[in-house]
Every structure is written in structure tokens, then in C-alpha cells.
Subunit: 660 residues, 2 copies
């Protein structure tokens, strides 16, 4: 997820987490009110903390803002989602997975632009020296004005305009706005400093000498870029190919808020799909072209009367709403993945970046945004970043990071070719001309239309009869006598070029959090009876096994079933506490365990139920009676092979809920 790097403060889209879409808020009257959102969020947070899905890190030491642990069930759910991601993207797409260190030396992040531009504007409380994000304070102030009924329509319009442009403001503009709206430090109401840049990377020092600065990577993508050359070789030199990395990334947020959504250490899963810029078709596009995700294109966003629209990806590519097939393919795959892990497709949209959000080199960007109690949250960024990243690393490392594609048959190519008059150069510069000659040799030809140094020199030569060329630390003034630049038609059997990269970048923690919200529910209208309707493949445990009453014989069967399930890769728990079956069901519900298996006297007694146990499905609470020997296979199919519960109910006998 490299950031745009367009200007001083334009970092990637994730920065502004909460797309508080005022337009949406106004229109969707059915949307829950903020207080309802807060209530829901607090109720879910209560369950999550009590059941240790998440724990504030270093809690016994008072915790540190922006850090969370995953406790046992949270850890399992996160693992499951990560494994599904690996299966869905890496395995099914034959991607090349890499694992690189988080500690990264400065030159890598200097080249990528993070050292200079991965910043947020910060202001400090002039009395307490507490730090705040400048844009957050301004936003809050502007929203207060917006909400004020006394304000004139003119004022409100001004405020709305400012809110729209808030990410584009430079330090001076931001400072001016903070002054104009008399923004003070929250809580203390003290004056604040003018805004200044704060780099969001954690800094450290590598080795004992202390002279090698390192940072904790702010994203996993750079590890892929620096390995491009080896990965291309591994792939037999062929394009397109994709590489992926799953790992921790770090951002030293100024003032982390929004709970699990803005944290300082988080798991990313990033893909870099390298492709010929002249051919961004995708061989498997047909497998997703009929999907109809909600698309919120630039055009729709600009028209305040419009909402995101469901549209087939085929149509979106055809109408050039999405720039190319490969980007659309990944939008489709991302849609499938998110729905597979439990995101409600009706609360998922793909929002296109507006021109002012994109870096100058980006061709097209879309964010998968998921509706939550915090508003629409950017969870996946999908960007066609052209050749920016590879070019940047190639320049900084002085290593060619290019690919070669052979044409089916040789092609005629128009080129600019430099004809160098060494004599004339020698006459003018004597032996000082050597670096100039070397530089000219290095730029002997380029593709017509490439706007490279030759095109530039030719423009200058034809306009002014001379051009400036830098070489060996000085500028040479080169005349038409010394250098002629001709157009030539050449036959070429292939081309060498810097590949474009299409980058889907997943924030695993954010997807996880939104999934929690989308699957959180209560039963029978009771706020006490909570459950998570996790997809079985995602659930922390696949089953809970209960002996109906406390009994050595029943315990033994329960443990035997548990072991069999475990061997089939089905994580489960045995609950022999002997509390009421209703309470034990409630416990499995709270953890989102999809199936509860109960062993009762009928399992042991001679009769038509001998050797069978009951299975209760969490969402429907309906039960069937299943032979013990079928359990592992049935559960495996229910959890991992898209077998529906109704198929199980039609195959096996229904069973009333057991009573003690």
C-alpha cells in the first residue's frame, strides 16, 4: 500500500479512515442514528473484551494507545481469515509469496518516498505539549459549525467546501483555517501551535555502531518491489505475475482513535501484480465479469443526487468506468473474498478515488469500503500504480528493474535516435567533454512518445538551437552541431520496459473488525443473548462437544469425538462443566461456534439412536441426529466445502433440543 506521494501531505487513502460521508448520512434515513451506532459498538466491544477476542496490549501496565492483542478466539478468527486469503489469492492465483523483515534500512524507504512524505500534520497544545492531528481538529471544528443552526447558508457552504478539500491543504492553508475557525486544543482549550509535518514511521537503529538508521516498515509492499528482479527470474522471466506478502506493518499514529480501526501495529496482506502496461487484460476476467458489486464511481460521487450502483464488472470495464480488466478482476476477487469471510455484500462498496486523491502517476484507484458503526471504512485499496515504484527503486539502487516481452512477430517501432558528433564536442569542450559523451552514449535512443530525455533535448534543440545536458556534475550546453536527434523506424522482436503494477492491499484487522460488526447479533430480542454469526470456515472453533449430563461414559464419547474432529483439522472444545445445556449453548453462541454436538444417553443405549449424537446449528438453532462416525466428514463439508445446513437437515433426522 505505497502512498501517493503527490505532495507534501498526500499519503495513502487509509489515512482518512472514517469516510464520514455526509451525503450518505443525509440520504439514508433508514441508517441507524449515531447513538444507536454507539450503543451497538459498546455492546459488541463488551462481548469481545469479555471473551478475549481482543485485549488492550500491556493491559496490566495500563496499556498503550493504538496497540491491541488478539486473545484466543480473536487469534483463531484472524488466522482463519488469513489462511482463507492465502488460499483465495496466493494458491488459487499461483502468486509468489515472500516474507521480508519489518525492520527496513533507510535507503529503501527513502526511495519509496516514505522518509520524506509519509507524514501527517500535527499541532501541539502550547501548554501541555500534547499532540493532535491538525486535520482531525479542523474537521471537528468545521462539523460543529455545520451543525449550528444559527449559521448562515453562505458560511455553511464555505465550511462544506473546506471539508471536501481538507486532505489537500498544505501546512499554511491548514494553519490559516485553524486560525480562522479559532481552533483550540480539545479538553484543555489551550492555544495550539501551527501545524507541522510528523513522520509516521517508527525509527530505530540497526547494528551496534548506531550509524545505520532503520524504520519499521509502514507497509509490506516495498519488500516485494525490492525483490522484483529475482521474482521475475523465478517466474521464468514471464509477465504478468503477482507476488504477495502477509505481515505486520507499523504506523506511529499521532493520536490513535477508533479502537481497532486505527492501530499502530497491524497485519497487511498485499499483492503486487506486475503487468505489461500495454496489455492489462486478464485471462481469468470472465470468471468474475458477471459479479455486480456496488460501484461508487467518480462520476457518481460528483453528482450529489447519486448513490453507488450495482453494476457488472464486464459493463464497468466496457464503459471504461474501471480502467482495465486486471484492476476489475481484482475488484471481483476482493468482492468474493470479503463476502466469503462474512462481510455483508449490501454494506460493501467500491469507491473510486477522485482525481485529487490520486497520485499523478496512478492510473485508477478503488477502495473497498465497508459500512460500520464508524461509517464507511476503507479496508482494501486497489490501485493501478503504473511503473512508479519499480522506477523509484531502480533509480535509487542503480539496478535495472525491467521485463522483456517478445512480440509474436517483429514489429516496426518509431524511435528517436541520437547522432553524436564527437568531433564537434571535442572541439568545444576538449577533454572536459568526456562525461558529456558518456551521458549521450547512455541515452542513445528512446521510444517515440516516451517523453524521455531525448524528446526533451529535441524540443529544446529545435526551439532554441541548443539544449542543456547534465553530466559529471556540471551542465553542458549542447548545440545542433554536436547532437542531432532523428526519428527512425526500427524492426524490433520484443520490448524491454518497466512493468506496471496493480496493487490490491488488504488491511486484515479492519476487515476483521467490520466482519465482527456484520456478524454480531442478539437472539430473541434479548441483549444478553449475543452471538456472532461467523461463517463456519472463519469461526474460532468449529464445534463444541457436550456430554448432556455429567457422566464418565458420556465424557469418554465426547472426548473421542473431539479427537476425531481435531485430526480432521476441526478445532473444537469439550465442555464437561455440566451446567444447563442452554447455558452451554449460550457460551458457544458468544464465541460464534457454528455447531454444538451433544452426547446423551441415547448415544449409548441400545435402540435406533445408538451411536448417534445431536448436532445443533447456531443460526437456526435447529438440530439433527447424526451417527458419530459421520461427524468429522459432515462438519468438514459444512465448514470448508460450502455444504449448507439445509442439506444436512434433509439428510439426517431432525431432533428436538435435548433436555436434561
Amino acid at each position: 500500500m505505497p502512498f501517493a506521494g503527490k505532495g507534501a501531505n498526500v499519503v495513502d487513502g487509509v489515512k482518512d479512515l472514517v469516510v464520514k460521508d455526509s451525503k450518505d448520512a443525509k440520504k439514508k434515513d433508514s441508517k441507524p442514528q449515531p447513538t444507536e451506532n454507539e450503543r451497538l459498538r459498546a455492546a459488541m466491544a463488551g462481548v469481545m473484551e469479555r471473551k478475549l477476542f481482543t485485549i488492550p496490549s500491556f493491559k496490566i501496565y495500563g496499556g498503550v494507545a493504538g496497540f491491541f492483542d488478539f486473545g484466543p478466539p480473536g487469534c483463531a478468527v484472524k488466522q482463519n481469515i488469513t489462511q482463507l486469503w492465502r488460499q483465495h489469492f496466493i494458491l488459487e492465483e499461483n502468486m509468489l509469496e515472500v516474507e521480508c523483515p519489518a525492520v527496513t534500512p533507510e535507503p529503501v524507504l527513502k526511495a519509496s518516498g516514505h522518509v520524506d512524505r509519509f507524514t501527517d500534520f500535527m499541532v501541539t497544545d502550547v501548554v501541555t505539549h500534547d499532540c493532535h492531528r491538525a486535520d482531525h481538529l479542523l474537521k471537528a471544528a468545521l462539523e460543529a459549525v455545520q451543525a449550528d443552526k444559527e449559521q448562515t447558508p453562505e458560511k455553511k457552504e464555505e465550511v462544506e467546501g473546506l471539508l471536501r478539500r481538507i486532505d489537500e491543504l498544505d501546512a499554511q492553508q491548514l494553519g490559516a483555517a485553524l486560525t480562522a475557525y479559532e481552533v483550540k486544543a480539545p479538553e484543555t482549550k489551550n492555544d495550539i501551535s501551527p501545524p507541522f509535518n510528523f513522520n509516521l514511521m517508527f525509527r530505530t537503529s540497526i547494528g551496534p555502531k548506531g550509524d545505520l538508521t532503520g524504520f519499521l516498515r509502514p507497509e509490506t509492499a516495498q519488500g516485494i518491489f525490492v525483490n522484483f528482479k529475482d521474482l521475475l527470474y523465478y517466474n521464468g522471466g514471464k509477465l504478468p505475475f503477482a507476488a504477495a506478502q502477509i505481515g505486520q506493518s507499523y504506523r506511529n499514529e499521532i493520536s490513535p482513535r477508533a479502537g481497532l480501526l486505527r492501530v499502530r501495529e497491524f497485519t497487511q496482506a498485499e499483492i503486487e501484480h506486475f503487468v505489461d502496461p500495454d496489455d492489462k487484460s486478464h485471462p481469468k476476467f470472465s470468471s468474475v465479469e458477471d459479479l455486480e458489486p456496488l460501484l461508487y464511481s467518480k462520476a457518481l460521487q460528483k453528482d450529489t443526487s447519486k448513490q453507488p450502483e450495482a453494476m457488472s464488472l464486464k459493463e464497468a470495464v466496457k464503459q471504461k468506468i474501471i480502467a482495465n480488466e486486471t484492476l476489475a478482476y481484482f475488484i471481483g476477487r476482493t468482492y468474493l473474498f470479503l463476502v466469503q469471510v462474512g462481510i455483508n455484500p449490501k454494506r460493501l462498496r467500491f469507491r473510486q478515488h477522485l482525481e485529487n486523491e490520486m497520485a499523478h502517476y496512478a492510473e485508477d484507484c478503488w477502495d473497498a469500503e465497508i459500512d460500520s458503526t464508524y461509517g464507511w471504512v476503507e479496508c482494501v485499496g486497489l490501485a493501478d500504480r503504473s511503473a512508479f515504484d519499480l522506477r523509484a527503486h531502480s533509480e535509487a539502487s542503480k539496478q535495472p528493474l525491467q521485463a522483456y516481452v517478445a512480440y509474436d512477430k517483429p514489429r516496426d517501432v518509431e524511435k528517436l535516435v541520437a547522432k553524436i558528433n564527437k568531433q564537434a564536442i571535442g572541439k568545444s569542450f576538449k577533454k572536459d567533454g568526456k562525461p558529456l559523451l558518456e551521458a549521450l552514449e547512455g541515452m542513445k535512443e528512446e521510444l517515440k512518445g516516451d517523453k524521455g530525455p531525448l524528446a526533451c533535448a529535441r524540443d529544446s534543440l529545435s526551439r532554441e538551437g541548443r539544449c542543456k545536458i547534465s553530466a559529471g556534475g556540471r551542465d553542458f550546453e549542447v548545440t545542433t552541431e554536436m547532437l542531432e536527434i532523428r526519428e527512425e523506424l526500427q524492426k524490433e522482436s520484443g520490448k524491454r520496459f518497466t512493468p506496471s503494477v496493480i496493487e490490491p492491499s488488504f488491511g486484515i484487522g479492519r476487515i476483521l473488525y467490520c466482519m465482527f460488526e456484520h456478524t454480531y447479533a442478539t437472539r430473541d430480542g434479548s441483549e444478553e443473548k449475543t452471538l456472532f454469526k461467523f461463517k463456519p470456515a472463519v469461526a474460532p472453533l468449529k464445534a463444541a462437544v457436550f456430554p448432556l449430563v455429567q457422566s464418565k461414559e458420556l465424557d469418554e464419547v465426547a472426548r473421542r469425538i473431539s479427537t476425531k474432529l481435531l485430526r480432521a483439522g476441526l478445532a473444537n472444545t469439550v465442555d464437561t462443566t455440566g451446567t444447563t445445556i442452554g447455558k452451554r449453548y449460550a457460551r458457544t453462541d458468544e464465541l460464534g461456534i457454528p455447531f454444538a454436538i451433544t452426547v446423551d444417553r441415547d448415544t449409548l443405549d441400545a435402540g435406533d439412536k445408538q451411536g448417534t449424537v445431536t448436532v445443533r446449528e447456531r443460526d437456526s438453532t435447529s438440530q439433527v441426529r447424526v451417527p458419530e462416525d459421520d461427524m468429522a466428514e459432515l462438519l468438514r463439508r459444512l465448514c470448508f466445502e460450502d455444504m449448507a445446513w439445509k442439506d444436512a437437515t434433509s439428510k439426517y433426522k431432525a431432533q428436538d433440543a435435548p433436555s436434561e
Copy 2:
């Protein structure tokens, strides 16, 4: 893997990576000579780099010592080993998995002792200021003396003694030895500085204010300890239970050597098994008691005529060679795990720590050491650390980190009980006595034999008639009149105590590297034909699918098989390059792919082979012909269910190697 923290420079055992066991080297004449080791290592490194199992990190920028990337096959193998670990330990043992951040605030690592004592002795080159590990330089110098035939036997004995004690030397002793042996900086031969402590943690700063120091965790264990209270609650308050964490740890090594074995960022998998110190039995011990790993006990190590001995774990516990069942249980489980992932059991030993290697609080420690071309490498540490870690965090955080165990029936317990004479205290100290009274209330009783503050006070009272008690920032002199301490027999229904912890700590990267060495082989005596005999479950890909010749029809079948395998969770690759089948087999061998599936004309043509494909097994190179529809199930069983290849050869028809 917390370190011992016994003295200034006693860190954990992993520190001294290469147990260059001179005793072993002398005795095992059959062991390859160093040059042979180096040759083997270089040959394997060549394959590993060429096939991108590992890549020096940031290679295009010249790399940084101590950092490695895993490329596609290395990443897959590492994932597979980690998943097997999760299945073997976390799932099968019902452990509580947690995931905590790597960035850790200072107080946590101050409490654990890392801030003060996680250090190595460093010396610097007085001219270049390059840094070196003091013990490494001394060791090299001593070994040179050892190898010198001119030296007297007395000198050699002195040197051997010093080598044995090298980890115990303090700064002064180490400095004296460096001076005595005239050790200079390697390469430059410049003088070196006296040794001084260098902390191995990467330091950073959390938040924008810069006032909160953080470190990258040097181990994953602390994340578990700080969550103990919540985890115990999650487990229903019951002991024993185990928690585990898999994640990155960081050590800013002074001068990383030994390739993949000593790196600055690495993956650990650590278990903390919390147990009642009075009951370290293990309910599942019987499942491992008959295993006979090579044990290298303290006694054997002290007798230079002895070698490690295979001994059943049952016997080892019975003879009190291993301190308790739980520690022995984990030694057994570790043995099973290592063998399962491909470690040669004959090159695996469990070495007990000598007294001078252990921290004062540790009850017993064993390292799983694996033989490699670098010597015996510590890959897993198994330690009974008593209650040290929980006590340290409890003290620092002021949070009780204790468990309660109810007795089956009430027990008589001998206690020391304080009888406080408030009047006498009031008389002596007036209202200043309040803090003293509070302090005494807080220490009202303790178990007899606990050597707590009451026992201490009683000693003092009976010896001198008074004792000193600190409270409210001052010392009070307390007399026998004010405080009487009696022994009482009380009935108790349970006990509250700080649990002991038994800690198995795995270095995943080291296990991985040793496994590479143990499975690396050449075919037909040709150094060109290399293969990795990975266990199928560990192999980066489970199968390669080949159309025998280039043909659209055969390609189609190959892709269909590939997709089916993928859906069954079997990672695979299709090779349609059409090079000779021999070359394609060689490619799969280099990557350690266990099965190659070839689609040929017979697959398509009517006849008895229609619908069948050949499967070649890597190690035996034998082949069978299998119906296409059986493939996924057969491979799943071969890879994940311990089905042996010979079972496949007896079930299906043998087939000659296909020829084009």
C-alpha cells in the same frame, strides 16, 4: 524464551549458537571434516539462493547483515512448518493462542529484566570503530592456541578451561583474557577497546511526543505473561493451562554470522504452560513416555568419556534425570514435532543445562539441539522457570498474578500468623503508626516455610527482640510487644499461589534451516542433481502437473487436475514448458516437490489407461498409474494422513517412467 538473568552477561542459551562440541568432534571420527561441511553448506546455499528459498534482504541495496527474506518456496515451507506446529501444539493440546504487538513499552521489558541484562559484551576496533563480540574474538583466539602443536599441555589445559567458562566471565575477566591472549581486531589487526555491555534490543519511540520508549520484543513470551490474568479467567480459573504465541522477535546482534542461524529478525513459537508448583504431573504423559530420544544429561556431559544416550522418557523421569513429567512431556512432544517436520532423529539430542548455564530460579532446562554443518545448534529451549516471570510482572505492575486451586478436601496447613498489638503500636508511634498498622494488616499470615516477610520478622524478633518494618516511606522498629508471630494449624479448602511456568520455546528459522540440511541430497552421485527430501506435509508444493508433450488437450487435463488439487488444499504447479520430462523432474526435485503427475496420450486415448495419469514419487522415483478422479484423495492422504508411498504402489499399477 526469557533469558536467565542470573548475572550481568548471562542471557539465554540461544546466545551461543554454535555448540562447537570439541568432545564430539574428537570422538566421532565418522563425522564429516570441516571442509566437507563447508562444501555441503555452500552447495546447498547455492540451490537455496537460486530457487529463492531465501534471499538476502534488501539485496538490490547491498543487503543488511542479519536479515533474510523467504522467497516463494521458502515462504511456503515455513508456513507449512508453522501450521504443523499450530496443529501439533495449539490445537491438539487445546492451548490458548495470543497475538501481541512486537513494539513493547519499556516497563514490560524492564520488569522482565531485558532492559538491564539482555546484553552481549562488545569490543570496538580503536581505529575503525567497528564492533565485535568480545566472546567470539576470545573464542577464536583460544581455539587457535588449541590447534597450535607447539603449545605445552599445560597451556592447552588452561585454554580448554577458559573455553568452558567463556559464558561465565564478567567484563573484567573477559578483558583480562583478551589482553592476556593479545587479541586484536580481526582483519585490521588493530587494538581493541575493553569489553562493555551492549543491549541487544532494537529501541524506538512510541507516539509523537517522544517520551515513551519502546523496544522491539526480543522474544514473544512476555506477551503471554502480561496476559496471564485474563487467560486464566478465560480458562475458567483452572490450572494447568498453556498459552502460545507465534510471531516475530528481534535481536540487534553485534555481528551476525552463521547465515540463517543468527539473524536479527526471526520467528519464534513459544509456549508457557502454567502449572501448580506442587503438582507437575501431566495427564497425557503416558502418550509419550515410551519415546526414546537421545538425552545428554548433566551427568553425561561432565564425564568426558560419555555420549548422549537414548532413554525412555518414563525412565528419565523415574530416575529424576528430567525434573518432572510436564517438562518430560514437552520434550516428548517436541521430539515428535521435529521428526514430523523432517529432522533426522539420530541428529537430534536433548541437552540438559549445566548448573552454571541456568538462572538461580530455574528448576531444570533442556535444549533440543540439532546437528548441522555448523555443529550442534540449539533450536528449542525447554525450561522449568518456576514462578519467576509472573512474580516479576506482578511486582512491577502491582497486579496479582496468581491462581487458586481448591483441594479435594480441606487440608491442615501450618501458618505463621501475626498478632498485632495496636495499643502498643499507638503508644510508641502515635498517629505516625498508621502506615505501619496498614503494612502489618497486609502481611497478616503466610505459609510456614515460605520465607516471606513474616518468617523474616519472626527470625529477627526471636533473635534480637525487635525487627524492622518498612511502611509509608520509613522504617519502623517493631518490638515483641507490638507484634507476636505464632504458628497455627489452619484448615484450608484450597490455596492461592503464583503458578510455575514450563516454557518450550521454538526458533522456527533454525529448525527450518536444520531441516533443509537434513533433507538435502544429491541423486546418482551427481552434484548437479540435487533434491530436498521434504516430508510431503512440509513441501512447498505437493505436486507438479505435466502434460508429457505440448498439446492443448493434454494442457487442459493438466489444468483440470491442478484445479482439483488446489480445491483439496494441495498447492501445486503446472509446467507446460514442454522441456524434456527429465529436466522437469529435476526442477521438481530441486524444490523438493514430492509428487509429479504426468498426463500423456494414454490418458486421453481409449484403452485400459484412459482417464489415468502417472504419479512419480520423488525419493524412490518409482511411478504408478492412477485414475484422474482418485488423484486429489490419494495425494491428500499421502501428504497429510501418513499414507506411505508403498501403500500407493501396492494399490495402483506400477508404471515405467514415461518417455516422449
